[in-house]
């Protein structure tokens, strides 16, 4: 039965917390008033990246006024957990594996006492030789989980016949989430060892599971509640678990509410980041720039434990094609085990690291062939009727990429601007410009099939207002607003009649993380399913109510319409009752006015043993053109203009979606430009606060910024929408690629190389290198091809040296293949 409803007027309603946010009344964890007997919790972290604990001395902490307790792993029931493989130790036992790993937890009567107690604990740790680079992990042969691979066709055969081959190595830096609200939780002990955990988390069920497991409770003894987060971006998918479990342990031990709030410096030092990758690649292509084969070996820096690395690498492997057809592919991913905090989910989840690899390759092919990189990309774009299956065998259905490319080429005046840039670079002695268009084709669905389900609870009250509860968590993205709108639209009532409640494992059980951009898809669908069941029941009652022997109108629930706050029979719209009246009628008829909805994405699946399948329900597509200007003397870079064009299907709330697109783009740009994670040689993060870790500032927004979407109905998803949270982040790559393009104007015969992030220091290092290269033209020009960090006296960990890996040189443009000197990509790994 399909009961009609009408969509209300303006869908651009504000975020459901907007008024609270601007008034300062929205409540975040640390804004919750302290309970009168609350204790404050602090963590004593490992100060070394790898070491053996000789002794722990808490005696001085005991003497701190207000000290309540000190706890170690011995106070836990179990100590091992992990979302994919259960390899993670919550609190160090005899060995510490990363800086920031919890060794002792202290509790005290006040914040300052807890801090004093933390500082008073003395750890005696014998330092061991840590593994702090992917290269070192490879040398030591230490990996997390197994090797993952996707293969199609025969790359060796393609290489043998290739017109051209480029191979190289590409270092991709990590990034900090820099959610403004650092990890935070408060735990309230209840009767019979039950606990209620309030956490700033994207994943209440995960906390419930890990807390129960590590504290020896049943799942039904643990309730996790999330009202909202002050930002998450993936950083609170798994890593909000650690503070929550430690605070819960204290709450159970002390029988007092326990509050644990990280400060920004601790948070940045202790929590995992976006995975850095070290990628080797080898690509063959025709004279026209068409890729014939790609071989790639991706090494993610997983940190000390797996966390979500398996899935992150999986997504890198399924996104290395991005928008481009790979007739032959052989891509393998491994996770290096190092002594950093476990790297974790971060908006895009490995997708960006896969995608930038091929976008970099497109720039290199263009530089090598002397083509415009746009033409290389266009020549390789997935087709609508042919060349439209991915290397893992999924059909690229409803492919809007060609339309996006062609439209943006025109609307951004790409060709005209290219000519202007060519002229500018010829004449300007002081500045250099570059421009690039890059794409995104982002697969939507969790790659772990079981996670693609959700449940929702919809309760209707007698005044016609509704509460909705789902497993989705609100971190600013507007998922609650979307769900509220979907439900209100189902019942044809005003948006303000619906409230989406705090997320709680008490109302929604066994939920998935709010992640993979799929929260609205999954939870919204479940809420719509629940609403439809309720509508059916109400329609039955109302149909009976309208049925009348006098007029000869029978009771046909199918004819009942919910619109504009009223309910009527479509045959006689003038005789209508309000939604609230209908609810009351139903109540009197003893009809249930609460319902659970469930949703499971159909038709998806992937088999890693084959590296084949259709893991995604659909793709969110887009492209962006960015133009940058570089100061030739300082390497300072600014983005002059960015044009974004996306296909996000039918928007529920276009205003909120635009915010997702712009915010994600800027975040992606920050990752690749100013956000520079720097470590000491001992693996300690130096850039652990905004003083030295520079996320984009208001002035870093492109001077001209144009952002549009195209019309497309995504029939496979709820209300024709597409997920939008992660995909636009990838478009930040256009800025990085534009810098690389700018360098191609000064790199002579070489294909320019560029690390990430392309901060001014990195850019100046490349400019200086090419300047000297052109000046000297000597044989021994690789001696200084290392960037600025070859300085042994430096206290810093040397940055990855992709520059030194060598590249194909544009030595022969007549069609002969060129080979890099190092041949590094061949060393490979075996699946």
């Amino acid at each position: 039965m399909q009961i009609g409803h009408k969509t209300p007027k303006n869908p651009n309603i504000p975020h459901d917390s907007a008024i609270g946010h601007v008034s300062g009344t929205s409540v975040y964890i640390d804004d919750m008033p302290p309970a009168h007997n609350e204790v404050f919790v602090e963590i004593v972290p490992s100060p070394v990246a790898f070491g053996r604990i000789r002794s722990i001395d808490t005696s001085k902490a005991l003497a701190v006024p207000g000290f309540v307790g000190a706890y170690t792993y011995r106070d836990l029931h179990h100590n091992k957990f992990g979302p994919i493989t259960q390899d993670e130790i919550l609190m160090a036992e005899d060995t510490v594996y990363f800086i920031g790993q919890a060794v002792v937890v202290v509790a005290a009567e006040s914040r300052s006492a807890a801090l004093a107690a933390r500082r008073a604990v003395v750890l005696d740790i014998e330092e061991l030789d840590p593994c702090l680079t992917v290269a070192e992990a490879i040398r030591r042969d230490q990996y997390l989980d197994r090797t993952y691979a996707i293969k199609r066709g025969d790359v060796e055969a393609a290489f043998a016949e290739a017109d051209h081959i480029i191979e190289g190595h590409f270092s991709i830096a990590g990034a900090d989430h820099f959610y403004l609200e650092s990890q935070a939780c408060i735990v309230y002990p209840q009767e019979y060892d039950q606990i209620v955990i309030h956490s700033s988390t994207q994943n209440p069920s995960e906390i419930q599971h890990v807390a129960a497991h590590l504290l020896g409770l049943n799942l039904n003894q643990v309730v996790v509640i999330t009202k909202r987060m002050g930002g998450g971006f993936g950083g609170k998918e798994c890593q909000s678990t650690h503070p929550a479990v430690m605070a819960a342990m204290v709450a159970l031990k002390t029988r007092r509410p326990a509050r644990l709030i990280y400060n920004k410096d601790d948070d940045m030092q202790w929590t995992g980041k976006r995975h850095p990758f070290e990628n080797d690649y080898k690509v063959s292509f025709t004279d026209a720039g068409v890729i014939t084969a790609l071989q790639a070996r991706l090494y993610a820096d997983g940190g000390a434990y797996n966390d979500l690395s398996t899935a992150v690498v999986g997504r890198a492997l399924t996104h290395i094609d991005n928008a481009y057809f790979l007739p032959n592919a052989d891509v393998v991913g491994k996770i290096a085990r190092t002594n950093f905090p476990p790297n974790t989910a971060f908006r895009g989840f490995g997708g960006p690291q896969g995608i930038i690899t091929i976008e970099n390759i497109c720039e290199e092919i263009a530089a090598y062939l002397g083509m415009d990189a746009y033409d290389v990309r266009r020549a390789n774009l997935y087709g609508v009727d042919e060349r439209n299956t991915t290397h893992y065998g999924q059909l690229v259905a409803n492919n809007t990429l060609p339309e996006l490319f062609d439209t943006l080429l025109e609307s951004s005046q790409y060709r005209e601007r290219r000519a202007t840039i060519d002229g500018f670079n010829q004449s300007s002695l002081t500045h250099l410009r570059g421009m690039a268009m890059t794409a995104v084709k982002f697969g939507i669905s969790f790659t772990n099939k079981a996670l693609n389900q959700a449940n929702a609870l919809v309760n209707i009250y007698l005044d016609g207002t509704i509460q909705v509860s789902t497993g989705a968590t609100e971190m600013g993205q507007g998922v609650n607003t979307n769900i509220k709108m979907l439900v209100a639209e189902e019942f044809g009532i005003d948006y303000d009649k619906v409230i989406v409640m705090a997320t709680s494992t008490e109302k929604n059980n066994n939920t998935s993380a709010t992640a993979a951009s799929a929260a609205t898809d999954l939870n919204g669908s479940a809420a719509v399913n629940a609403s439809r069941k309720l509508k059916e029941r109400i329609a039955e009652v109302v149909a009976q109510h309208f049925a009348s022997t006098e007029t000869g109108m029978g009771a046909y629930p199918d004819r009942i319409v919910f619109a504009d706050g009223y309910i009527y029979d479509s045959r006689k719209p003038s005789r209508r009752i309000t939604f609230a009246e209908a609810v009351n009628l139903s109540y009197r008829e003893r009809v249930s006015l609460g319902e659970r909805g469930h949703y499971a994405t159909s038709g998806i699946g992937f088999d890693w043993s084959l590296g084949q399948g259709a893991p995604f329900l659909y793709y969110t597509n887009g492209c962006a053109v960015s133009e940058v200007e570089i100061d030739r003397f300082t390497g300072d870079m600014r983005v002059l203009r960015t044009d974004i064009l996306m296909d996000i299907g039918q928007s529920i709330n276009p205003g909120l979606n635009r915010g997702q697109i712009v915010g994600a783009f800027v975040q992606g740009m920050g990752w690749l430009t100013t956000e520079d994670l720097r470590y000491t040689r001992n693996g300690a993060l130096l850039t652990h606060s905004p003083t030295t870790y520079k996320i984009p500032n208001i002035y870093d927004l492109p001077a001209t910024f144009i952002c549009n979407t195209i019309q497309n109905d995504n029939k496979v998803n709820v209300r024709g929408t597409k997920a939008v949270g992660e995909p636009p982040l990838v478009l930040g790559i256009s800025v990085w690629a534009a810098v690389k393009n700018a360098l191609s104007y000064v790199s002579g015969e070489s294909i320019p190389t560029l690390n990430t992030p392309a901060c001014n220091e990195e850019i100046l290092s490349r400019l200086t290198y090419y300047k000297r290269l052109l000046e000297r033209q000597d044989n021994n020009n690789h001696a200084f091809n290392e960037g600025f960090y070859h300085d042994e006296a430096s206290v810093l960990l040397p940055r990855a040296r992709s520059h030194a890996a060598g590249r194909a040189v544009r030595s022969n443009l007549s069609g002969k293949r060129a080979r890099s000197k190092s041949g590094k990509a061949d060393k490979g790994v075996t699946a």
Partner: protein, 514 residues
């Protein structure tokens, strides 16, 4: 007059008198933990994110009460304002902005334009934008100079460089700024009975504050004599002006001064310490030590725009509202952004003590080594004098991010050329160069200056001078830049300077708001 044992201030129109150990806490902690005004967020606790921004009304004794629009309230970072820094102030937090219980025009613009996503940065943006709206109503640009900003968008960006947002990418916030209905916006000053607040604060203002608690002593002098008298008895007391350096060191670097002298009341009571005047006879600018960097910026926007340009990228509006030039000088960092200019301009520092009265020190004699100053423990900086010249001046700051970032490298050039016949290549008459971020102190490059005299102003000359600079310095590697990077910058900045100041130069200066 006896001393007070409490600091006296207002929050959202309510009076607060705080004494004892409680004054040794930050304003943000006081708001959040003592007053349960949790709208003010703390993210970084070091002035670098703006989430804790609150509005402060700090008034000179001579000023008439403020009403209506006028750049009255200024945004500052509550996380680096200790209570002993806010004596005599009226603080307004995000909770204190509603008019008749309805959100104001700034707040509704932010709602309508989706300027808030997760909302954690939002209160800080709201307070800062209310200061902006108040300034826009009064026709004052973010830098404080009268109505000279290029366009509204630039003005909005200038006002918000001190607020980080990780969610929105800022576009919606800029849109909100553009959408503020200035006709209905009620200035914050109109929401409170400022006359009676003023009267109440005036009543305690002539009294210095002295609070001893938890083995610590803080003194807030009401006048200069008390200040110098206190320093004579407590030499080495930690002077706190804007606190944008000291308070960060307390929060983050374990600094725990036993004895503190806070200048906040002094800056309200002694107009000479906050005045900026141009002495036309000597063509010298005289800057009161306690005037905010914001005022310095506004003044130099008229007289030496190149220096205002550096101040424009100095910290953020919040930092410049609180911070002082004296603090930047006394902080002694080799990457202090004002210093290269003060070096090439030949500035002098006026210091005072009870024992020896006043003396003046040339800026390049003031620094003796890393954070080693020619400043006795009983001395206070009272003024800075900057002679104005007609030379060609260029100042450079290189940092990871353009705004709200500490420099990795700085440079200043002051050049005069011999008058030459039309068409002839000019000859260098006089040059002064200072480089920052390349040694323990800012360096005057005297060898280069001497060498340059008489050379032709052409590319070859500047290449030679640049090479000299590169070989003369021995920088370190740190998070803000590797040694080689700094060496390369020192070399390149000479080429850049040449191209920007010669006929052949094609480098336009980036536009600024002024």
């Amino acid at each position: 007059m006896g001393h007070r044992d409490f600091v006296h201030f207002y929050v959202n129109g309510k009076e607060h008198r705080v004494g004892g150990a409680a004054v040794f806490q930050t304003l943000s902690d006081y708001l959040r933990q003592d007053l349960y005004l949790c709208g003010t967020k703390v993210v970084c606790a070091e002035g670098d994110c703006g989430a804790c921004s609150v509005l402060v009304l700090d008034r000179q004794r001579s000023q008439a009460p403020v009403t209506g629009s006028g750049s009255a309230y200024k945004a500052v970072n509550a996380c680096i304002q200790y209570l002993y820094q806010i004596d005599g102030a009226h603080i307004v937090t995000v909770e204190g902005l509603k008019a008749q219980n309805a959100i104001n025009a700034v707040q509704s613009a932010m709602v309508d334009q989706n300027g808030a996503q997760c909302g954690y940065c939002t209160p800080g943006f709201i307070t800062t934008m209310c200061a902006l709206a108040q300034d826009m109503q009064a026709g004052v640009s973010a830098c404080g100079s009268k109505d000279k900003y290029k366009d509204k968008t630039t003005c909005i960006k200038d006002a918000l460089t001190g607020n980080l947002c990780r969610c929105t990418g800022y576009e919606a916030i800029i849109q909100a700024g553009l959408a503020i209905d200035l006709d209905t916006f009620q200035p914050v000053a109109d929401l409170y009975d400022l006359a009676s607040i003023d009267e109440s604060l005036q009543s305690t203002r002539q009294q210095s504050v002295s609070i001893q608690a938890a083995q610590r002593l803080v003194f807030v002098p009401a006048d200069l004599d008390s200040a110098l008298g206190f320093l004579a008895g407590q030499p080495g007391a930690r002077i706190v002006s804007g606190g944008t350096d000291v308070s960060v060191n307390i929060n983050k670097r374990g600094l725990l001064p036993d004895v503190i002298l806070s200048t906040c009341l002094l800056s309200k009571n002694d107009a000479t310490l906050t005045a900026i005047t141009l002495d036309t006879a000597s063509n010298t600018v005289i800057i009161g030590a306690l005037t905010s960097l914001k005022n310095v910026e506004a003044f130099f926007a008229e007289h030496v725009p190149e220096f205002a340009r550096v101040l424009w990228v100095f910290g953020s509006p919040q930092i410049r509202n609180a911070g002082t030039l004296a603090g930047n000088i006394a902080n002694g960092s080799p990457i202090g952004d004002s210093l290269p200019f003060l070096f090439v301009a030949g500035a002098t520092i006026d210091v005072a003590s009870q024992a020896r009265g006043r003396r003046s020190v040339a800026i390049d004699a003031f620094y003796k080594g890393y954070k080693q100053l020619d400043l006795a423990p009983d001395e206070l900086i009272v003024g800075i004098r900057v002679p104005l010249t007609q030379e060609i001046l260029r100042l450079y700051k290189v940092s990871r991010r353009q705004h709200l970032d500490i420099s990795g490298f700085t440079a200043a050039f002051a050049l005069s050329l011999e008058p030459t016949a039309m068409g002839a290549v000019p000859v260098i008459k006089k040059l002064r160069v200072a480089l920052g971020g390349v040694a323990a102190t800012v360096l005057r490059m005297r060898q280069i200056e001497d060498r340059a005299v008489g050379m032709t102003h052409d590319a070859t000359t500047w290449a030679i001078l640049g090479e000299m600079a590169r070989s003369a310095i021995d920088p370190l590697s740190d998070v803000r830049g590797a040694r080689d990077y700094r060496l390369t910058l020192a070399r390149n900045i000479f080429d850049k300077f040449y191209l920007e100041t010669s006929e052949t130069g094609t480098a336009p200066r980036e536009p600024i708001c002024k």
